[in-house]
């Protein structure tokens, strides 16, 4: 029966929060941001190519068509075929310029435009003309097949990278920042939510009704579990969303090349995140949530609920900013000490794990300290929770605390 009531409080807390607009916005906002930035990038890239295109004019249709192909769909304006049309299009800024190709013994290309050809376009044009000129030269020289083959010999350039140290370093840096920001964002968000959720009930008579139905510790745990379910929901949405984004990234033409180039790096970052670090993150979040609940129970009245989470949020901020100077020095004495301190270890131990400066024993010890602190705090706060929540004194913080503990 007792567990059923705890579960009831958990579900009630969870559903009430999850159904709120603020939670929906919180969970979906990163995806909206990513979609927006991709969308804006795509739109700006597309709009840039329109005025960036080049027209090709030539009395040799085959030559013109071959060069248009090298410019690609986004770079060429194939509809413009005459110098007159090209000049008109250039005046109205529909194209960047136009190339007039003439074919004689020597190929000739004249570019006229509002701005100079980019170096890559210039190189492409030169390479195209060289290739056509070569073919023309070979044809005119009437060479044998063997001579042609000899002339077509190309040098070989090979690149063999023996170590991926550089990439590993980038992966570590990326993992560190992603993790630290994730911990920070989740901690600050849920510390505020928890503190506000609890502070808004402080001193209200509904608490008297509830405490005449179940024990204060069960209600407190129910609240904490409800918030944890929210965090799990958010993490699950992020994992699914991240997986879907990566899968989509492999298939969309716009991102396929990017994914191929970085998939090794992405795998390393994902590997760094899905490790013991996730456990540190999760336990750390629970610890901050319990602290935030305590802060919420200490406010003078429900109207102060918006300020209730400040202590937990500030502590999280201190821990967050304290990691900054040590991102490339994860073996510093300060980092080693902080990696065992509850409230700080959720930032500092993952940093050491990512950089490979913590042994299994050290990781286990830090986790044990974190878990022991969590259990101790939960037990103690749960025990005094009823007294804190039911007292309605408006005296000083210490007076309220003392009275709450005494009741």
């Amino acid at each position: 029966m007792g567990m059923r009531k705890l579960w009831l409080v958990t579900v009630n807390t969870y559903l009430r929060q999850v159904k709120s607009w603020s939670f929906l916005i919180l969970v979906l906002s990163p995806f909206v941001m990513i979609a927006l930035s991709f969308g804006i990038g795509w739109i700006s890239a597309n709009s840039a190519t329109n005025g960036d295109r080049i027209a090709v004019v030539s009395n040799q249709p085959a030559l013109r068509s071959a060069y248009l192909k090298t410019l690609g769909k986004d770079g060429a304006a194939p509809a413009i075929k005459t110098v007159k049309a090209a000049k008109q299009a250039q005046r109205t800024e529909k194209i960047q310029g136009y190339v007039v190709l003439t074919q004689g013994k020597q190929l000739k290309a004249v570019y006229r435009g509002s701005q100079a050809l980019s170096s890559s376009r210039k190189a492409k044009l030169t390479s195209f003309l060289t290739s056509v000129q070569n073919q023309q030269n070979v044809a005119q020289a009437k060479l044998t097949k063997q001579q042609v083959a000899t002339l077509q010999q190309q040098p070989i350039v090979q690149q063999k990278v023996t170590s991926s140290l550089g990439q590993k370093k980038v992966a570590k840096m990326a993992s560190f920042w992603i993790l630290v920001f994730m911990v920070y964002m989740i901690l600050t968000t849920y510390s505020s939510i928890t503190a506000q959720e609890i502070a808004s009930e402080k001193g209200t008579k509904i608490m008297e009704i509830i405490f005449s139905s179940t024990t204060a510790i069960k209600y407190f745990l129910g609240k904490i579990f409800g918030v944890l379910l929210m965090i799990v929901t958010q993490l699950v949405v992020y994992v699914i969303g991240g997986w879907a984004s990566l899968t989509a990234g492999q298939h969309f033409s716009a991102t396929r090349d990017l994914y191929t180039s970085y998939h090794a790096l992405i795998n390393q970052v994902v590997g760094n995140l899905f490790s013991i670090n996730l456990v540190f993150l999760f336990v750390g979040v629970i610890l901050y949530t319990v602290l935030a609940a305590f802060c919420g129970a200490l406010v003078a009245k429900p109207e102060d609920s918006s300020k209730a989470g400040y202590p937990a949020v500030y502590l999280s901020m201190i821990a967050f900013f304290a990691t900054f100077p040590f991102q490339s020095n994860a073996d510093a004495l300060f980092v080693r000490i902080m990696s065992y301190m509850p409230f700080f270890s959720s930032y500092f131990m993952p940093m050491r794990v990512i950089n490979g400066t913590a042994s299994t024993l050290q990781i286990s010890l830090s986790m044990l300290i974190l878990l022991a602190t969590l259990l101790g705090m939960t037990w103690y706060i749960g025990r005094i929770y009823g007294g804190l929540m039911l007292q309605t004194d408006e005296g000083s913080f210490w007076k309220r605390l003392k009275r709450g503990l005494a009741n």
Binding site: G2, R4, K205, I206, S213, T215, N407
Partner: protein, 298 residues
């Protein structure tokens, strides 16, 4: 049976309750009266185990803890519900916290809403209800799990006469079903109408305890209600009459300093003939309250 023995509570140096003793049997209604700050809510909070206290409180010889919470229905002094929930969700949540299965409660909600004249509000949000209707919903939440110990802190405050009747009826129904009921009130009319016994607190001390009729009797029948043609001045000349209050044109309330003076006054006023009204009564509960709960100024 609710049994309270030698209950005492201190808040620092303040003695909020001192040696409180009373019992509420099954099927009995106890009124807890006293001025603001007399210790009524502290007594309720002690019964509900919200506070650490000295003394003993038991329900059916058991300590009051989670094992008996489901048998208790409690209405706090100020009303407070969850504004974002619908009426059904609110009733269901609090009833489930009292160990009731959801299906059973859902099936009975309409009947309770009808009984308290809030039918059709089942899907309304709590915040959309009027204050009076919110109070009714809170009462339903207190009673829907059919508790055997009902604790009501100022249940009548803020209710209009129609709703007072509804609540009185609900309390009497619960009593008929065998519940032990204790409630506090400032309205002595409600207490007199409903309670079998009362406890009066003053500054945390029990100043009166017992059956209402017996308490009134112990103050002596020193009030006489009379309908007569005599003038107020003439009535004041009668021996032992210390006050003559005109209630209507010919109706007076006489206060006497000796209840035995009733007989000679009757003889004097009637002159041995028919008299429309002559009624000698003990003081009302309201007067006793003013006398005992306050500083003695009636």
């Amino acid at each position: 049976m609710l049994k309270i023995e030698h209950l005492a509570k201190h808040f620092g140096d303040l003695e909020a309750l001192h040696d409180i003793n009373f019992q509420v049997a099954d099927g009995e209604i106890m009124g807890l009266i006293g001025q603001n700050g007399a210790g009524k809510s502290t007594t309720f909070h002690s019964i509900l185990n919200f506070l650490k206290y000295e003394g003993t409180i038991s329900w059916n010889d058991q300590d009051i803890n989670e094992s008996v919470f489901d048998q208790i229905g409690y209405l706090p002094e100020e009303r407070s519900l969850m504004p974002k929930l619908t009426v059904e969700q609110q009733i269901l949540y609090l009833a489930q916290l009292k160990g009731q299965p959801a299906r059973k409660i859902k099936g009975g909600i309409d009947e309770w809403l009808q009984r308290f004249e809030v039918k059709g509000k089942r899907t309304d949000k709590i915040r959309a209800l009027s204050k009076g209707n919110q109070q009714k919903i809170q009462l339903i939440c207190t009673l829907i799990h059919r508790p055997s110990l009902i604790i009501l802190d100022e249940p009548f405050s803020g209710l209009d006469p129609v709703n007072v009747d509804l609540l009185e009826q609900a309390i009497l129904n619960a009593k008929a079903q065998g519940a032990a009921i204790i409630f506090s009130s400032h309205d002595m009319g409600n207490v007199e109408a409903l309670c079998d016994e009362l406890v009066m607190l003053r500054h945390g001390n029990m100043v009166l305890h017992g059956e209402i009729r017996a308490i009134r009797e112990q103050f002596g029948k020193n009030e006489i209600f009379v309908t007569t043609d005599w003038s107020q001045e003439a009535l004041l000349q009668l021996e032992h009459v210390i006050e003559a209050k005109q209630l209507s044109r010919h109706r007076f309330m006489l206060r006497v300093d000796d209840p035995a003076a009733g007989q000679p006054i009757f003889q004097e006023l009637s002159g041995g003939h028919y008299i429309e009204e002559f009624s000698q009564q003990p003081p009302t509960l309201d007067e006793i309250f003013r006398l005992k709960a306050g500083d003695g100024h009636a």
